[in-house]
Symmetry: C2
Subunit: 255 residues, 2 copies
């Protein structure tokens, strides 16, 4: 099977123009078939603030009301997505920006309003591999933002890690698929205060042990859970690594 | 040759959610191959205002400085484009939103800074028919916003009428192409105050006569000029009509 890399970057890269530029220059050199999934970053929050839209939070999590959905759709699917696509074109990587609505690529379901009504937040229901094959078969890199639709005209804001994992899982039937989750640290650390303590590989047994020993931080737990879900769904391997070392052997491999 | 309709809607439809919904429901029923090009509307201006970005105007025309480009990219390529795409999906029309950067579909050149520096405004240089064929050959309707790129990483704001005409011209080599420019009036009017005075067809001779007689309004002149440029470039016919009567025989045919 042909190799496919599904690579996800988060807000820490997007908020830093020179880190984003460096990352995209590296990304463009990857010769395998590839898909880029990007998160949001602080631009959306700053824009909401400038527009005087007060953030509504419940238990530390943002509620996506109608005004907020408009702003995140604009910022994620418009500003960030097109900035990335234009930069990739500059580096010779033919790219196409997608939301889940485009080519009906990803259908989400609005999260139930109980116990907490998060507003226009979606959970991925279906990934349409044909939508991604259309681009892959033409040598075009899909650049995916985490805005999806429900198929009935409603856009929904979705978690970018989950979107990346769902795409990787859906493509694993026809590609040897690797999911790469880039973030600000060097990998999964044995000691969270020591950047040199990267755990090279984690299998399920080690994951259970790390959890028992309380070595998995609250932020890392959903990332690892997501990674093992992807493995269970057929993804060959998941790599958690620094966005600054995309093309270097580095980070933590989950398999 | 297969028929292709390139249809352009402007701000008057986009600013009116129920008119936009009606238009898109009609648009989805068109069985010919089709491409939709959309303008901006007042949302971008309102957003700039809310964000406290003061409009810079020279001789009544907006200057697209760096902040303004960010906002129009967000609003046109993100909010408006994805709202249209999700609505078309609801009506069973598989659609994909595009800026000129996506699939390298449209390359523009930044307008010269003299005599007036309009900022990040582009004029269409190249339309890549292969980018549109990719979607047409899969039965997917491209939904195009008027944000392009220069191929060197710079996004540029471009006139949507010109984008529509340039796409129609580029596709006319391989399709029997009709360009439909939708706007708020019934067509080109003989008497601008009488909506019933629609001129059914205009050829070059009549256009010259109308200009001589001063019957072409300042707003209509560039639209007609654009239409005849498209005809000269190989487009079969151009129709200028009301966005409310998309699927009805109506408006003014230019050929």
């Amino acid at each position: 099977m042909e190799k496919l890399k599904v690579i996800k970057i988060g807000g820490n890269v997007i908020d830093n123009p020179s880190a984003l530029e460096d990352f995209l220059r590296d990304f463009a050199t990857i010769s395998d078939a590839k898909i880029l999934v990007h998160g949001g970053g602080a631009i959306a929050s700053r824009t909401l603030e400038k527009m005087g839209i007060e953030p509504k939070m419940i238990e530390g999590r943002r509620i996506t009301d109608a005004d907020t959905l408009q702003v995140v759709t604009a910022v994620y699917a418009g500003l960030i997505n097109k900035t990335i696509v234009a930069t990739l074109q500059k580096y010779g990587c033919n790219a196409a920006g997608l939301s889940g609505a485009d080519c009906n690529a990803i259908v989400s379901r609005k999260r139930a309003a109980t116990p907490v009504d998060y507003g226009f937040v979606g959970d991925v229901e279906t990934v349409n591999p044909g939508a991604f094959d259309l681009f892959l078969s033409s040598g075009i890199t899909a650049v995916v933002c985490a805005i999806n639709h429900d198929g009935h005209g409603q856009l929904l804001n979705t978690n970018a890690d989950t979107v990346a994992a769902a795409i990787a899982a859906a493509m694993s039937g026809s590609y040897d698929t690797e999911l790469v989750l880039c973030f600000e640290k060097e990998g999964v650390l044995m000691d969270k205060d020591n950047d040199k303590s990267v755990i090279p590989t984690i299998d399920k047994a080690l994951f259970e042990r790390l959890k028992r020993e309380g070595r998995v931080s609250a932020g890392m737990l959903p990332k690892l859970k997501n990674a093992f879900d992807a493995i269970d769904a057929g993804v060959e391997r998941v790599i958690i690594k620094s966005s600054g070392k995309l093309t270097l052997e580095s980070g933590t491999t989950i398999q």
